[in-house]
């Protein structure tokens, strides 16, 4: 599989004003702190973690919607972080984003056709009206919207249909990579499956690469080929789906997987959930050493002193933990 996107040691730090009125100082909030990964052509990479782990920031930084503080984002070998604005704009036809809340990501004063037409005009102002209309109809059909709906406004649609419009808008430029940031979390359970099936189909049909950002592990397991687990801006584990879910090596991944309730009363009651103590620490003041150590069941003094490096195992499984062998 050809690698299309390569992210190296990506860092996004936000300057935050801290301290009192007289002794205020600027400290960095390390939203993403040294994350590296690759995405292959036609591959779906899942990014999971709890709120505040930096998964959305990571998605935006890859698309340069937030300027990374450090690191490289190589798209087909070219570092997007170095590109001037205009050149980056040209690249955007290949790199698209779908957001969590479909209704607020659509302009309420534009019709569906106008929403989907916007990116077409933005990348090619000379495109003829008929060409544009034809492409709009095609993509509307591909995402399961009736072309007759083209003159309606977003508020006339349900959440699931709005998400289809957002996906159509992202797909109309025939991008090579789409980053989906929690695309089904705000939808009703019965509608989620429709959108998941749609993404899965589009991904296969168009050979799309997907970065699927989600906190829902069952959905990620269903959809993704490889999965990356983030915690407090750092990568904890990255592996292909089957080895990650069958044999998670990182204590955090183990706890995450064990915390997902299983819809089967006998299994759910017998399984014995690994309960982590406490909450996510503040990213302004992350723990020294391994960021997960304050909630980790295996933590030792070594974890306080040393930041674990990412080890790459034979099967490509990546893990950042001092004690994964234990």
């Amino acid at each position: 599989m050809k690698t299309v996107l390569k992210v190296e040691n990506l860092k996004v730090h936000f300057p935050i004003k801290a301290g009192g009125f007289l002794n205020s100082k600027i400290i960095p909030l390390r939203a993403v702190d040294g994350v590296s990964f690759e995405v292959g052509a036609g591959e779906c990479l899942g990014v999971v973690g709890e709120s505040g782990c930096g998964k959305s920031t990571l998605g935006r930084a890859v698309l340069q919607l937030i300027k990374p503080t450090d690191g490289k984002v190589l798209w087909l070998g070219e570092n997007l972080c170095d590109l001037p604005r205009e050149q980056m704009r040209q690249k955007r036809s290949n790199l698209q984003l779908v957001f969590q809340d479909p209704l607020s990501s659509l302009n309420p004063r534009l019709t569906v056709a106008e929403i989907i037409r916007e990116p077409l005009y933005a990348t090619d102002p000379t495109i003829g009206r008929e060409d544009a209309d034809q492409r709009i109809d095609e993509i509307m059909k591909a995402v399961g919207l009736l072309p007759e709906m083209r003159n309606r406004y977003p508020h006339e649609f349900s959440g699931g249909q709005c998400q289809r419009i957002a996906i159509a808008r992202a797909m109309v430029l025939k991008p090579k990579l789409i980053i989906c940031d929690e695309p089904v979390s705000s939808l009703d359970v019965s509608i989620q499956a429709q959108i998941i099936n749609l993404l899965r189909r589009l991904q296969k049909e168009y050979g799309l690469s997907l970065i699927f950002i989600s906190h829902d592990l069952s959905v990620v397991r269903h959809l993704c080929h490889r999965v990356m687990v983030l915690y407090l801006g750092r990568m904890m584990e990255l592996a292909d789906r089957d080895s990650l879910f069958a044999k998670p090596l990182h204590p955090y991944t183990q706890a995450l997987i064990s915390a997902v309730p299983i819809p089967d009363p006998a299994k759910e009651r017998a399984k014995g959930t690994l309960i982590l103590s406490g909450d996510l620490p503040s990213p302004l003041n992350p723990p020294s050493g391994c960021v997960f150590r304050t909630r980790c069941l295996k933590a030792t003094p070594k974890c306080i002193k040393e930041v674990p490096t990412v080890e790459v195992l034979e099967n490509g499984h990546q893990i950042a933990c001092h004690h994964w062998l234990k």
């Binding site: 709890e50 709120s51 349900s158 699931g160 249909q161 009703d188 359970v189 019965s190 509608i191 989620q192 499956a193 429709q194 998941i196 099936n197 899965r200 189909r201 906190h215 592990l217 069952s218 959905v219 397991r221 269903h222 879910f245 706890a255 995450l256 997987i257 064990s258 915390a259 997902v260 309730p261 299983i262 819809p263 089967d264 009363p265 006998a266 299994k267 759910e268 009651r269 959930t273 690994l274 309960i275 982590l276 103590s277 406490g278 909450d279 996510l280 909630r295």
Partner: protein, 322 residues
Amino acid sequence: MDTVLELEHLTVCFDTKAGNVSAVTDLNLTIQRGECIGIVGESGSGKSQTFLASLGLLAGNGKTMGRALFRGQDLLKMNRDELDKLRGDRVTMIFQDSGTSLTPHMRIGEQLMEVLVAHKGHAPDVARKRVLEVMESMRIPDIEKRLTQYPHEFSGGMRQRVMIAMALVCQPDLLIADEPTTALDVTVQAQILNLFRALKAHTKSSIVLITHDLGVVAGLCDRVVVMYGGRMVEEAPVADIFASPKHPYTQGLLRCRPRLDQLLDTDLEAIPGQPPNLQKLPKGCAFAERCTQAIERCHTERPILRQLSPTRRAACHLLDAA
């Protein structure tokens, strides 16, 4: 049996610009002492409104009909004073968004003690002792310090624990939890669900758990009610609803989610279509247009909720034929 809450023909209507909208229609449900019952449905299914209406917490344009008997007394006939004596004491409710349920300018300790002072007439030191006891059972570390803090100093998971503690200080007969873990991360959700399990084992309170997550129901509830379009479509003991769901909607709900204990390499079995528009409910079964098994009768005649066995009820024409 010791019945705590009995809803009889409960109907909830809202007077809107677009006309009268019925959020809950003709709901009959009894909750026994010590029982944990799960109410499952999508947004707009009426699962929250049922209990908000029972406690007199509807929005201004809402109207409730029928009866809601709490230990034999009709809650819907009570005036505000009578309700206030019960609410927060014998019946308590916790909501999804714990951040907006706490008073931002009062210390957590004061807020918790206020409940006991108001309902039980406890002296502050007695109230404080009980608050400490409950907070300890919520496994909140460093309680003494925590009690002097304000809600914004608590994380989402911690605030939800405070809410549960507040709901429990008076040892209520009935605790209604409306999506208590939906806004929380999975690892924190696991902590909170663990608390509910301990609560179930150690108290005689009945629990109503309103949720859209069947996984949460599986681990906690004794009995499950599934709602759709404002009506109950199925009711069964928890093991039965997962092992042999009778209503096509329940079957669809169980099949449309990917599960961690099964790996699918095909598409998910999505339920087609959209949730119903409560302003334009069809004449027949509300689920008929999304139902893959629908027959002609489903579109013309509304199925009634039938008793299938002593413990199971469902509303579907297909079950009549069988």
